[in-house]
Each structure stands twice: as structure tokens, then as C-alpha cells.
């Protein structure tokens, strides 16, 4: 018994939230095993982002529980949850555009969580930040890390956001439509990074519209529609499900992968 429990890292039970009568998320529950890569799909307005906000504490749930490593973190404040090891990226990247790119990483590096891993004393953080950015395609010798974040192209911003999330050494990483607005090449360059994290044993939840890329990497998929969970399973079985296709294109057609 306990053995199974230990390898479940994140457990969501009957999570529900409604805004002024409009139900955004209703009785959604799922489990995320350690090192698992889960994708969440669903048409626009199906409550994917709200679900993420509920898990990460940016929105207080009306009902249900979020359990992280056998610890009820429902209603915790976002920074607590991050400090416990769940970090996220935003669909609309939230960065400090009037700072150099690498300075953006200083903020997560000041977090008490990071202190545990890297000391990060005065001045040290800049170097650490640049090291981290180097892995995310901001070559340390180029000008890129030192440029004002505001002047960087969109793909870089997305990666910077990802870098911010990873700088916290999370145990669960939640990616909210990371690829939205990225060019093919950018996606192609970013996807391997994520797969690398996954291989290193990081458990990831990924919200995505680009089913092709998503299905190619994830172990299991969760399908939302109108805030309700309509399907869960491995990519290929999910893609065969009737209601999923209906949810996506309204009629029953083959989603080609």
C-alpha cells in the first residue's frame, strides 16, 4: 500500500471553482506519478489554465483538495507552493521587461528554496543566472543574456520564463501553453529541453494546443471540456475516444497524429 502512495507526487481530488456562477472547473481529479509526463488538452475555455491556477494557488478553489507529496496544499499561497517544489510558466509570460534577461532569474534565485541548493550569496547569483540561461539557448558569450528582456523575441521570452521556473529546481513543473506563439523552429529547439528534464526524472504537467508535439512526448493525457474531465489515458487511446474528437472539432472525425 504505502509504496504506491510514495510514488504519487501530486494528487488532485474533486477540484472545483466557479466565477460568479460560471463554473470554470468542476470535480476534476487526477494523479501524477513521480517522473510522469502528463498532458492536459481541451478546447479553449475548457478550464485548463484555471486548473493550473488552482493547483499553484493563484486562485483559491471552492471545493476539492490538492495533495503534494502526501501534504494537503489546498489554499496555500502561491509562493509557499513554489517553495515546496511546484513551479509553473505562464501562458502570457510574466517577466520584468525593463531588466536584463539574466536579472530576471535573480528573483527565483532569491527564493528560500533555492538557497538550499546553491548558496547564492551577494554577486554570486548573476553568475548562477547566466549559467542557467546558457542551457536555455542564451549563449553566455553572446549579448543575449544581457539584453533588456523587453527587446528579446517572443520565443526567447518563453524560454526565459521556462528558465525562471527551472531555476527553482522544482519537483513538478507545470507548463501553461509553452509553445503558443512559438515558431516551428523554436518549438523544435525547446522540446528537447523538456524531454531532457523528463528523462532526468522531473514530473511535468503540460498544457498544449499542439497535439502533435504533445502526444509525441507525454505518457498520459487528461482531456477537459467545460471544466469537466471527459477522458484520461495514454495518447493513442485518448485520441481514439469519440467524445474527445467531438469536444475538439464538434464532429466525429479522425484526429491524425
Amino acid at each position: 500500500m504505502p509504496k504506491e502512495h510514495t510514488d504519487i507526487i501530486l494528487q488532485v481530488e474533486k477540484l472545483g471553482k466557479s466565477f460568479g456562477g460560471v463554473v470554470a472547473v468542476e470535480e476534476v481529479s487526477f494523479e501524477l506519478k513521480k517522473g510522469e509526463f502528463m498532458g492536459i488538452i481541451g478546447p479553449n475555455g475548457s478550464g485548463k489554465t484555471t486548473l493550473v491556477n488552482l493547483i499553484t494557488g493563484f486562485v483559491r478553489p471552492d471545493s476539492g483538495k490538492v495533495i503534494f507529496k502526501e501534504r494537503d496544499i489546498t489554499g496555500y499561497r502561491p509562493y509557499r507552493i513554489v517553495q515546496l517544489g511546484i513551479s509553473r510558466t505562464f501562458q502570457m509570460v510574466r517577466l520584468f521587461y525593463n531588466l536584463p534577461a539574466y536579472k530576471n532569474l535573480i528573483i527565483p534565485l532569491c527564493s528560500s528554496r533555492v538557497k538550499r541548493f546553491v548558496g547564492g550569496h551577494f554577486g554570486e547569483r548573476d553568475d548562477i543566472a547566466i549559467d542557467i540561461l546558457d542551457d536555455f539557448g542564451f549563449e553566455r558569450d553572446s549579448f543575449v543574456p544581457y539584453k533588456m528582456a523587453g527587446t528579446l523575441p517572443h520565443g526567447y521570452l518563453k524560454r526565459l520564463d521556462l528558465a525562471k521556473a527551472m531555476a527553482l529546481r522544482p519537483e513538478v513543473l507545470i507548463l501553461d501553453e509553452l509553445f503558443s506563439g512559438m515558431s516551428m523552429s523554436e518549438v523544435a529547439s525547446t522540446l528537447p529541453l523538456i524531454e531532457k528534464f523528463h528523462e532526468e526524472g522531473l514530473s511535468i504537467i503540460m498544457i498544449e494546443h499542439r497535439l502533435k508535439e504533445l502526444f509525441s512526448v507525454v505518457d498520459k493525457v487528461l482531456v477537459l471540456n467545460f471544466g469537466r474531465k471527459i477522458a484520461e489515458g495514454s495518447p493513442d487511446e485518448v485520441s481514439k475516444m469519440k467524445e474527445v474528437r467531438e469536444a475538439y472539432v464538434g464532429i466525429d472525425v479522425e484526429i491524425e497524429i
Binding site: R80, R94, P108, S112
Partner: protein, 337 residues
């Protein structure tokens, strides 16, 4: 045939010396050294030397300038993490009362009361305002505005701590110059300290909180705790000012909670420019002597600060300091388009 319309626009370029002296960390020439040092060194020198040439009244003016400068700095520090206070008087008064009462009832000498007031008062402010940091700016402003006024009324009516008459003949500083230089040196020290902090990671985080608190939270930082720290720092600074003035005048009264101590620092910051502490300092150094020279106007003075305040916010939002530094670092050319 179509007419030629000449369009011109202003173009600003960094002076070469600026570019040189902030990118390359090797000082090329004596000129560079002066270029870098003067703006910092000259004011310090002036402030240090000037009291030697002043009469007692003008010395008092200088002290007031420094005191208001300290308050302005503390206001600016709060503002830099998105807490807009309308009641520096709260901090000022706390400091004054802590040190004054300690000195009067327990006969503790200023050398102890001032530090106690600084830290204790700061802690008190932080404790009092801690619940508010979760609320939006206007709430913080409301609370900070209302508390000092209510405290005035309370002391006035209940007559605790000497009531309306206050407590007079507290113990003074041993020598006249001590309080003058205490004010000046602490003022300069805090100014440069804060400017340093602003460039450090700690300052970075504070500024980030002001810009986008969600992003900071998602960076795993407890913004509330940071804000409370900020309140403590700003609060103890204000308290220090209060304690200092109390012992300087050897008098403690409810007027230490007066509205002036709230409005003037804000006016100073608005005039000098928010965000760079130098602006706050500069503003108070301009505004206080100005206000002294305006005494001819009697009660209208405060109204005039407010006017300056409003106009400088509307017409010169960046503040004088930015304006000057731009003039110092850049030259303008008119070019055709």
C-alpha cells in the same frame, strides 16, 4: 508641385565620457574620475562643511532639511516596493514618543533612547501595518493617513504622555554640533546605503514586487514578508528622525504626528523624482529652505507645497533629479527628419 515640410526632432546622445565610464571599468583619465566622483562627492562636501558657516537659526533649517530628507528617503523606500504611504508622521511620531517617554520617565540618555526608538519604533510600525500589506495601495495609504491623526486626538483627549502640553526639558545632546552632524551624516549615509541596496538583489526583488507581484510570487518569494521588512526599514528610519528631532528640541508633543511630516516628504519626493533616492534627497534639500523663506506667507506655505507637489507630479513626473542627470550625462541635438 508639393511643398517641402521640414520636420525636426530632438535627439539625445550619451556623452562619450558617460559611455566610457559606465561600460569600461577602467578609469581612463583624471577627467573621468572627476566626472564620476563629483556628483557624489561635491554635495557631501558641501553638506559637511556648511554648518561651520551657519548661524543657529540656519543650522536649524539645515537640520530640518536633513530630517525631512530622512522621511522622504523612507517614503521612497516604501514606494519602491509598491507601498504608498500618506503618513510618514506615524513613523516620526512613534520614534519621538518612544525616545521621549523613555528619556522622561526612565531617564535614559539620548545615546540609548535614539537606538531603542529606532529599532523598537520600527518594529512597532511593522507590527501595526503588517496586516495591511495584503491589501492594495489605497488601503495602505488610508491607514497610514488616518492613524497619526487619530493618535493625535487620542493623546489630546486622554492626556497620556503629557497630553496636549507634551513633555518639555528632555535631556539634550552634549554639544550643539553633535545633533547637526548626526542629522547630516545619517542622512548622507542612508542616502548612499539605499542607493546601494537598490542595485543589490534585495532591491531588485523589492522593485519587482512593485512591478508584478504575481511573477515574484511564482518565483517562490514571500512578498508579504518582504513588504513587512520594507516597512520595518522605512519605519525605523522615520522613527530615527523623530527621536533625533525630539532630543534636538528637548520637547515632545502631539505635533510630532502632524500632517506636515506626511505631506512634506511626499512633496520632496515628487519634486525630486521617485525611485532614485537621490531625487528624494535633492527634493527635500530644495523644498525645506524654500519653505523657510516662504514664512512671509504664513499659513499659505503648506498650500504652496501642495501646489508644487501637484504641478510637479503632473508636469514633471520624472522629477528634477532625472532631468538634471539627463542633462549631465547626455547632450541634445536637433536633427532633421
Amino acid at each position: 508641385m508639393k511643398r517641402e515640410i521640414k520636420k525636426t526632432r530632438k535627439k539625445r546622445l550619451d556623452r562619450g565620457i558617460k559611455a566610457r565610464s559606465d561600460t569600461i571599468y577602467v578609469i581612463a583619465s583624471l577627467r573621468d574620475i572627476f566626472y564620476l566622483i563629483m556628483p557624489r562627492f561635491l554635495p557631501v562636501l558641501i553638506l559637511i562643511l556648511i554648518p561651520l558657516f551657519l548661524g543657529s537659526y540656519h543650522k536649524k533649517v539645515l537640520i530640518h532639511a536633513c530630517i525631512y530628507g530622512l522621511l522622504a528617503l523612507s517614503w521612497d523606500f516604501l514606494a519602491s516596493c509598491g507601498l504608498f504611504s500618506l503618513g510618514q508622521a506615524l513613523f516620526f511620531g512613534f520614534g519621538a514618543y518612544v525616545s521621549g517617554t523613555l528619556n522622561h520617565y526612565f531617564h535614559i540618555p539620548p545615546s540609548f533612547t535614539i537606538p531603542i526608538a529606532t529599532l523598537g519604533g520600527g518594529a512597532l510600525c511593522a507590527l501595526l501595518l503588517a496586516p495591511v500589506v495584503r491589501l492594495r495601495g489605497v488601503y495602505f495609504a488610508m491607514i497610514t493617513l488616518i492613524l497619526p491623526i487619530l493618535l493625535i486626538k487620542m493623546i489630546d483627549t486622554t492626556g497620556i504622555f503629557g497630553g496636549t502640553h507634551g513633555i518639555s526639558s528632555l535631556s539634550a545632546f552634549p554639544h550643539e554640533y553633535i545633533d547637526t552632524y548626526l542629522a547630516i551624516v545619517s542622512f548622507l549615509f542612508i542616502l548612499f546605503l539605499f542607493r546601494r541596496v537598490l542595485n543589490s538583489d534585495y532591491g531588485l526583488v523589492l522593485m519587482a514586487i512593485k512591478d508584478d507581484d504575481r511573477a515574484v510570487m511564482s518565483g517562490g518569494i514571500n512578498i508579504y514578508w518582504r513588504k513587512i521588512q520594507a516597512i520595518f526599514i522605512a519605519g525605523s528610519l522615520g522613527c530615527f528622525a523623530g527621536a533625533l528631532i525630539t532630543h534636538h528640541y528637548q520637547f515632545l508633543g502631539i505635533s510630532t504626528f502632524a500632517l506636515d511630516y506626511s505631506i512634506l516628504p511626499i512633496a520632496a519626493v515628487a519634486l525630486g523624482g521617485q525611485g532614485t533616492f537621490a531625487g528624494a534627497a535633492l527634493g527635500s534639500m530644495i523644498l525645506v529652505p524654500l519653505s523657510e523663506s516662504l514664512r512671509a506667507l504664513g499659513g499659505l506655505r503648506i498650500a504652496i507645497y501642495c501646489l508644487i507637489l501637484i504641478l510637479s507630479i503632473i508636469s514633471l513626473p520624472e522629477g528634477i533629479f532625472h532631468f538634471l542627470s539627463r542633462k549631465y550625462h547626455q547632450f541634445e541635438t536637433i536633427e532633421e527628419v
